[in-house]
Symmetry: C2
DNA sequence: TCTTATTTGTTCGTATGTATT
DNA sequence: GAATACATACGAACAAATAAG
């Protein structure tokens, strides 16, 4: 006979973890469709004969995993987007080949998602770490290109690219529409073609701005990536700080041996 | 006048977050030394005039960030180890140059830490995904080299390397001590020198075994990395599944443009 | 715009279980 | 075995965000 899954104190696993496992399973089996709401916490508490506090703890586990998104006053919503794959090495090539779409758009189209992004360009005082990498004096102004990126109108990436003004002032890169081929083609046209890319990444809690824009909980994590583009002459001509919700992305790197 | 930091209901930020911020700040300022215990939760509850439940929530935040480690019945201990940097591209080179230390040891010595690792070698039935990558029939036996790695006797990495038996059977790689130069030198000596490396990584909750060995909480995250070594002929000759506590590591990748 | 019902967020007090010392 | 310390659970209450009217 079929037996309704139970949450029980007899089980050595904590009740809120048992319930989190049940809900996760139901979501993965498609019993709660992406974009739909879970039953209210009070409802689940009644159904499984536990306190609402216990349900809240169980939902917190799923939030941390990025499986659901909670809106107070509204409900608990099952995440809509699939995991997106970012190919760090291949993505530069896409632009260089004159592909008009851009790497981000290509990544999303692969999954049948619609890409959209907002760009903001400004001259800003370089943060200390950026100034050092770009080898400009602390307090010097640099060009900052800030992008907010969306998949199906869900925010999925924040990126701020810093460029030295002595290279890019007056060029296409100082415009909102930086022109064909992307940042690296433009840098090459200006005589500063990147020869080597370095990405340093770590996992950390989101800051307040990231929490707001990426709609994250404090318990979720972001992947913070810093990419440095260096010319053959050894000069770093761009630093790009990229922030991704950790649960939303897969990263791929490929390089030759030796 | 100096005023003792307070946790207050007037503050719009939740009390447990206020307290987590206070404790995090104190730890970062060195007011709680690495390896030492925080005051007991009941103590903190009294001191800040909040319930122990609220203190427990605050500590949970710090646990999730990997800032403290909790041992029931004992206390809450401040994390001892610094963040370790893993240079994915450079680490292969280290072994190839005949450096006797190995990449992992080099990474740790850089920080003044002592490296130790246990190795276990066995022939196992290839998991489905591994069998497909190595292009062997499902159910075929492969060689598995499993490593548990420690920094100052703290577990910091789990790695399982899978190799096809038709290449490595009877070779040094089938022994506990695989011999000089590391896995890739040995593969080269067997006529299967890797030409390209691919790493795919994602952030996820630890499974039960990882939780136990890496001493993680369910709320913490691991970086799961799959590295594939491919020969010039296009054959994948090794798959290495690497698991790192996400808060404990920085990753670095570097590659040439174009 | 204001009101009300719904739903999640947070906190408290209390109690019990489990691991360590 | 006793004392200590964290883990989890319940019930209750109020706050805050959302939606419907």
């Amino acid at each position: 006979v079929y037996r309704e899954p139970q949450v029980s104190l007899e089980n050595p696993r904590a009740q809120y973890r048992q319930l989190a496992d049940l809900l996760r399973g139901a979501i993965e089996r498609g019993e709660h469709a992406p974009g739909s709401s879970l039953p209210a916490e009070s409802e689940l508490a009644r159904h499984y004969s536990v306190s609402r506090q216990t349900v809240n703890n169980a939902v917190s586990v799923l939030r941390g995993e990025g499986l659901v998104r909670v809106v107070r006053g509204k409900g608990t919503i099952v995440r809509e987007l699939p995991v997106i794959r970012r190919d760090a090495v291949g993505r530069q090539r896409i632009r260089e080949t004159g592909d008009a779409r851009g790497a981000f758009q290509a990544e999303l189209e692969h999954l049948g998602l619609v890409a959209r992004s907002d760009v903001e360009v400004a001259e800003v005082t370089a943060p200390a770490a950026i100034a050092e990498l770009l080898a400009v004096d602390p307090g010097t102004a640099v060009l900052a290109r800030r992008r907010q990126m969306y998949a199906n109108d869900v925010p999925v990436q924040l990126a701020t690219s810093y460029l030295p003004l002595d290279i890019v002032a007056g060029s296409h890169l100082a415009e909102m529409d930086q022109g064909a081929g992307g940042t690296y083609s433009q840098l090459a046209a200006l005589g500063h073609a990147p020869a080597t890319f370095t990405e340093t990444l770590r996992v950390r809690p989101p800051d307040d701005e990231e929490t707001r824009f990426l709609r994250l909980d404090a318990e979720q994590r972001v992947l913070a990536i810093r990419r440095e583009a260096q010319t053959a002459a050894g000069r770093i001509v761009e630093v790009n700080d990229i922030v991704l919700p950790a649960h939303q992305w897969d990263l791929v790197y490929r390089w030759p041996a030796g």
